[in-house]
Point group: C2
Chain length 476, copies 2
């Protein structure tokens, strides 16, 4: 349509050849042993191409139904289509649905007449032979994960359409995590955690948190989407932080898979299946959303990305590791808390202020309509002295009148001075990468200081349990 | 908000007491054996209340984002909110997700520490005791059914938002049926059908259709939603036909469940779990959509309803029976075919014409811009003589100039004469009920003429297989 983003000839060639290559990859999978990881890579490439093209095609349609917004950080405040995360979500979900059989290929090709698992079990009883039993629980996990992500997509789209009240939308991810938690309850139910060494005298080596663990998982799935959602406001940041986090989870997964027959390898392979297509659609979105943005991602994408991480973290049993990759988001959340909970004034928009003259981003300010209470101004002054905030005082009274909005983005500008939006996003991306690297290092090296062992070297409890169950499956 | 539908005090009382009663019901379930059917009834009541209230509350919001339409069959053509089927779908899906544990309650309460299935199997191996193995395949079916319905909801909403082209939207249900078919392939793979007696000499008693059966199932899930979608256009018809169909499927299910330990009882119980909440949300929607409508249902509802029927029909193995409940839809589809495939002119809207003077609905007309070809006018004349269409001819030439649009609704008006919209809908509802009754009777009585046995009396193949598998599950 008219105002849609044109696809250059070069891009057409690239997308077509990419899809061709991926189809070739899938063909080898069909021809060969049906290696799921190869198939996953193939599908991810196709997901990238589909998302890239679709975003180009649907832009005007989205604007027409009112899914649009103005880019306030550009001189002419262009009007851009919103909620492109919905395109990512739909493409991602379709790919993941079509991918369903692949991880389970090896199990049901055994049956001669395509009769699937039923024939296997029956034959098993008739002949008494032991055949690999279909891992229905894994399939259940996979399906419930998709259900959670799909619910998140629906609720995210509803949020972008109807912009739901802040205090309500915070809970949307909790709703969409229900299938996941229920599945976890039905099927897994491991609520034990390894106690850090210093605490073992008091709690023993393993602690069963029972239902508290479910609250913890719910908290994870509330935190991940929302923390990404509030760490946003400049071109491309939402997508870039998600891509950075995804990359490090993938690295972590590869660490486990590379260890020969590591007991936890299966669940990390599982998380790869979810993350590779996610990277596919995210990078495609980034191509359009990177500075200067041609489209906005919408809350849908933030929720969807956060939920994807929560899902793989919970099903893969590395939710603690996951949080180590969320350091900037955690900091941003804690730092924003005073404004979010209205201890200090919180303007409608906290994104940095665009200075059209200098064409640079500057810290945006929040204003006290009446002089702040004693304790508040004391706290702010302390923050100022440690350089975590910028204050503007009244010349005469010395009262604090304004302060830089308490977001990591503004803080970065307070510390590093005004800079061009593109550069700001790039710097924050590399900050994310740096923190992720530190977090992962801490996980696998420093963990040994507080935990009896790093499960990369030795089988930790979860690995043990997984192994036990696999043994059971084999016997049954 | 301002223009929203008010909830009368009486309704408030009713809804609150209903929810109270349902919560009581659920409480008995928790306290007692955890009878899933009771829980399902309780959830259905809550679903009704939630849908009824939500539709009242969100109307204006929907209008604001452009989800609205004019009721062309009223004197003042009032503007009503559209796509209320989306509310039904979301409530339904949430209820079904929360319901997940109930059908499987008996299996995982066995484990002492809430550890779910894992503990059972492990204990089983340790102690050698036989405990019921968790029916993961049933859970898989349940989850994949939810995935299909959720996909259908998303695609339906997308259709209502962006009104997708007709030739594209026809295929949306096919996309959303993928999870179901994949699950069927992985997990069930029964592609045999019982051959009707007259054909048994040629095909034998059982015929394995293999992949043709999958095409058949895909066709079912394309047909059900679309056939409901094109049999629409007057207040309340979409919902009433869906309710009628659902009622007869429920009756059919009860027939099987009432037979003591009937092998197919399990799968019919399964379809009850899906249909009772569906009836809950549909009746709530009907309260607002019945003549004179205060809201429209949107394609979302038609797709969602049709997909629900397709899902239970496929997973419950009674897709042939299902079609017997779709007689009016099948007739309407065949009757509309000439216009749909543009053998004869097809105007944008085929809904009956509202005569403001008489306040009655009259058959709407399609016009030939040029005289029809010989064969066409012959065919139309034949239809006219058998009373299946009304033609308007040119006085001089006798050429056919106009004909009544070829929908069951118009035909009903051609035969029965102009009538008030409310009465028209009511009559078509009872037509649906009548056809359903005939269809179900045919299924269970006349079936004996062409099939060796009625599976209500004797175990048919599917029952046999189900029993076999249950035996296997018990042994394993």
């Amino acid at each position: 349509m008219a105002g849609n983003i044109p696809i250059t000839t070069g891009w057409y060639f690239f997308l077509f050849s990419l899809v061709g290559a991926c189809c070739g990859l899938l063909w080898t999978v069909f021809a060969g042993e049906g290696e799921p990881l190869i198939a996953s890579i193939g599908f991810s490439g196709i997901a990238f191409a589909a998302t890239y093209a679709l975003i180009c095609w649907v832009g005007e349609e989205f604007k027409r139904v009112g899914l649009k917004g103005n880019d306030r950080s550009k001189p002419n405040r262009p009007e851009l289509p919103e909620t492109m995360g919905a395109v990512c979500a739909v493409v991602y979900l379709m790919v993941m649905i079509i991918f369903i059989p692949f991880p389970f290929y090896e199990y049901f090709v055994l049956s001669t007449n395509g009769g699937g698992n039923r024939d296997i079990t029956m034959e098993m009883v008739e002949t008494g032979r032991i055949l690999p039993r279909f891992p229905h629980n894994k399939l259940g996990e996979y399906l419930s994960a998709l259900l959670s992500l799909q619910s998140m997509a629906i609720l995210g789209i509803a949020d972008d359409l109807f912009d739901i009240r802040w205090r309500h939308k915070v809970l949307l991810p909790a709703i969409s995590s229900i299938p996941l938690l229920i599945m976890y309850y039905i099927d897994f139910g491991i609520t034990n955690i390894v106690v850090p060494l210093p605490l073992q005298p008091y709690f023993g080596e393993l602690l069963d948190l029972s239902y508290i663990y479910y609250l913890y998982m719910a908290a994870i799935s509330i935190f991940c989407p929302n923390s990404i959602n509030i760490y946003a406001g400049i071109n491309g940041l939402e997508v870039e932080q998600s891509i950075a986090i995804a990359i490090f989870i993938v690295i972590n997964d590869l660490l486990y898979i590379s260890v020969p027959n590591h007991p936890a390898a299966a669940s990390h392979l599982f998380s790869l299946y979810f993350l590779l297509p996610f990277l596919g659609v995210s990078v495609a979105l980034w191509c359009h959303n990177k500075y200067p943005s041609k489209v906005f991602v919408g809350d849908t994408y933030c929720y969807f990305a956060g939920m994807t991480f929560a899902v793989v973290g919970i099903l893969g049993h590395f939710s603690k590791t996951l949080l180590l990759l969320f350091i900037p988001q955690i900091f941003n959340f804690l730092y924003s808390a005073p404004q979010i909970f209205h201890l200090v004034p919180c303007p409608r928009h906290r994104l940095p202020h665009f200075n059209a003259k200098t064409n640079r981003m500057e810290p945006s300010r929040a204003t006290f309509d009446k002089p702040p209470r004693r304790i508040i101004s004391l706290a702010l002054t302390i923050l100022e002295t440690v350089g975590l905030i910028k204050l503007w005082r009244n010349e005469q009274s010395g009262e604090i009148e304004e302060f830089s909005n308490m977001t990591l983005i503004n803080l970065w500008l307070v510390r590093g001075g005004p800079k061009n939006e593109g550069r700001l996003t790039r710097e924050l991306f590399w900050l994310q990468m740096f923190c992720g690297a530190v977090g992962l290092l801490a996980r696998h090296k420093a963990a040994l200081l507080v935990f009896p062992y790093d499960n990369l070297r030795m089988e930790d409890f979860e690995g043990l349990a997984a192994a036990a169950v696999e043994a059971v499956e084999a016997v049954v």
